[in-house]
């Protein structure tokens, strides 16, 4: 920029136009106090760079104290329209987050085994996949399951792991992708004997 800018600066009378982010009641806050209380609060939550760094130093010093981060989004006053994302995007992410939160708290389902005196309960979240789950079930109930194939189900044993899905139907464990199984499984039942074989041979 040319020298034309220099004189302009003097003419600006900077003080009059300066927007300060002081707290209400301080000398520099004339511009701020005329705003609505909500707006004022939003401004006050924006600390200056110096303040923030000081806080970081003191946080390091008090490492023993748990950091107040999980509540940070809610305790910090959200600035209207920031970050600049369209509302339909925000809404999409919101639904996904709620779903994720429920699943992280555990998907507990009852497991029954034909002939066993009482049921067990397991958290599906704990298992990485079908093999993990089946290994655990076999341990829990002391039995062996056959090998899974799409065509024939669990061949080679008299047991078949089944589950009740959201529609109330009894399905063979292993047909659908693991994530789908986790969300649709209501309870598990390890079938035994001729009933088990019948299911495995279904078309």
């Amino acid at each position: 920029m040319g020298s034309g800018g220099g004189g302009f600066e003097k003419d600006l009378n900077m003080e009059a136009t300066e927007l300060r982010l002081g707290l209400p009641g301080t000398a520099s806050s004339t511009a701020v106090t005329d705003q609505e209380p909500e707006a004022r609060q939003a401004r006050n939550n924006k600390r200056s760079l110096v303040d923030r760094r000081e806080e970081e130093v003191s946080e390091d010093a008090s490492r023993a104290l748990p950091k107040d981060h999980d509540s940070a989004p809610s305790s910090k006053a959200q600035i209207v329209g920031w970050p600049p994302i369209r509302s339909y995007r925000k809404n999409t992410l919101q639904t996904k987050k709620t779903e994720a939160e429920t699943s992280s708290s555990g998907i507990y389902v009852k497991v029954s085994m034909d002939g066993a005196p009482y049921l067990r309960k397991i958290d599906l979240n704990v298992y990485k996949g079908y093999s993990d789950l089946l290994k655990a079930l076999q341990n829990m109930f002391k039995f062996t399951i056959g090998e899974y194939s799409e065509r024939e189900g669990y061949k080679g044993s008299e047991f078949a792991p089944t589950y009740e899905d959201k529609d109330g139907d009894w399905m063979l464990v292993g047909d659908v992708p693991w994530e789908m199984f986790m969300t649709s499984c209501k309870r598990l039942r390890i079938m035994r004997g001729s009933e088990a074989r019948g299911l495995g041979c279904a078309v």
């Binding site: 920029m1 800018g5 600066e9 989004p73 209207v80 600049p84 339909y88 992410l93 693991w178 789908m180």
Partner: protein
Amino acid sequence: MAYSFPEEVLEHVFSFIGSDRDRNAVSLVCKSWYEIERWCRRRVFVGNCYAVSPAAVVRRFPDVRSVELKGKPHFADFNLVPEGWGGYVSPWITTLARAYPWLEEIRLKRMVVTDESLELIARSFKNFKVLVLSSCEGFSTDGLAAVAANCRNLRELDLRESEVEDMSGHWLSHFPDSYTSLVSLNISCLGSEVSFSALERLVSRCPDLRSLRLNRTVPLDRLANLLRRAPQLAELGTGVYSAELRSDDFSNLVGALAGCRELRSLSGFWDVVPAYLPAVYPLCSGLTSLNLSYATIQSSELTKLISQCHSLQRLWVLDYIEDSGLEALAACCKDLRELRVFPSEPFNREGNVSLTEQGLVSVSEGCSKLQSVLYFCRQMSNAALLTIARNRPNMTRFRLCIIEPRCPDYITHEPLDTGFGAIVQHCKDLQRLSLSGLLTDRVFEYIGTYAKKLEMLSVAFAGDSDLGLHHVLSGCDSLRKLEIRDCPFGDKALLANAAKLETMRSLWMSSCSVSFGACKLLGQKMPRLNVEVIDERGHPDSRPESCPVEKLYIYRTVAGPRFDMPDFVWTMDEDSALRPS
């Protein structure tokens, strides 16, 4: 004039001139060219619906076939423009319906559209072909039903990102059985279910259908059926990408997708189950556009998909992609032109993913054709910006959003002035720029000095004084749109550069320091500007003149002040008296 061309010849020559700017230039040559040109102009674009009256448009251009209008300011996208501000299309439709019986295309952006207007469109234009409602609101599925029922020659119905009220009337079924001309349908923004059987029948009987963007309610197990009826599709937006697919359902889907050999663009992917992603792998090598910005899946899954898309030109994705995924993108997608990375947890102060400035640097290095960037991240450095600028002097659109306002260079703790300065200095054809992070007046000095082709600038939480604004208004020769929020810019720069505002489409300033007195003065001095004060605290007269206004929207116009304002908007005019609402 014996030596000039006959009108018909000139008209024929003009028919090769498509761009609005060239057409406008042609019309200024002389009176006879003005006359000839206005009779043969077929397409009109009005970037601000309040800049000109509908009557003036139809008076000047008697035979128009295509109209495009934009309403609310861009910051309306982020809820900064209060409800009821304006942007009503109704007076336009009424005038167009009377003047242009042969109108074929209407494209609207950020406007308020009513069912009455849609019904009027459906009744008035016998050869109506294209309706695009981008980020609009105010209408329901009843209005859509009227369009479906009456527009026999409709080619394109695109509701991108509009808010539509659901009246559950099965609007899609209103397309008659005799209707077969659909080419493009985008209903991705609709929250409600559409009748699947009506959709399938519609798709079956429209052989020219090239673009189909479904909404979230269309389940994955219906997708295969739709695709088998439209193997000629070039653009597909899936519905929800999860279902309880039996294995034969899944192979059915794979087959149906593979059958769409012309597919170049994919979007949708709500609620993606990673196990079903391989269904699209066979399409990857042909894809030029991929929108995964709703796909909440991990970096490894995203990378697996993207690294197969060697022809990719446009990618929209969530920050789950992380730096590692962007490195893979840089290595595999050498034809990339546009990248948008959206934040998965925008309101979380802490980062939840490993996405930093490095991802963007990698892409700027590996993708030599990259020209358009929208990038949300939590840290940035001047060094990285300098590298990006040097790597990509061909950049034309650069929008960076560092999520924390006023965030400095994370390495040096300095402002990011020099980084953005490098961007405007190296990228000589930069048309659009959005700033973020800690910035002083210096960055605006760089912008005013170097950004000579810049047309749109977005500024938030930046600058120290009026000098910043002055640099931009006095230096940016090509500036058309300037939007500013939460910056310490006040009266002086605005008043000193009042004339500049007439060369621009619009200026938006909110939570700045422009006083009511200055607004009145500006309105007084500049009759061809509408200086709108938007203030929800009540009449500005109830506060001192030196008090800053909440929001300010200034735009050039030949239509004078508007009369459809709500009670929290006032136009400053020559009388310097407020117009009552």
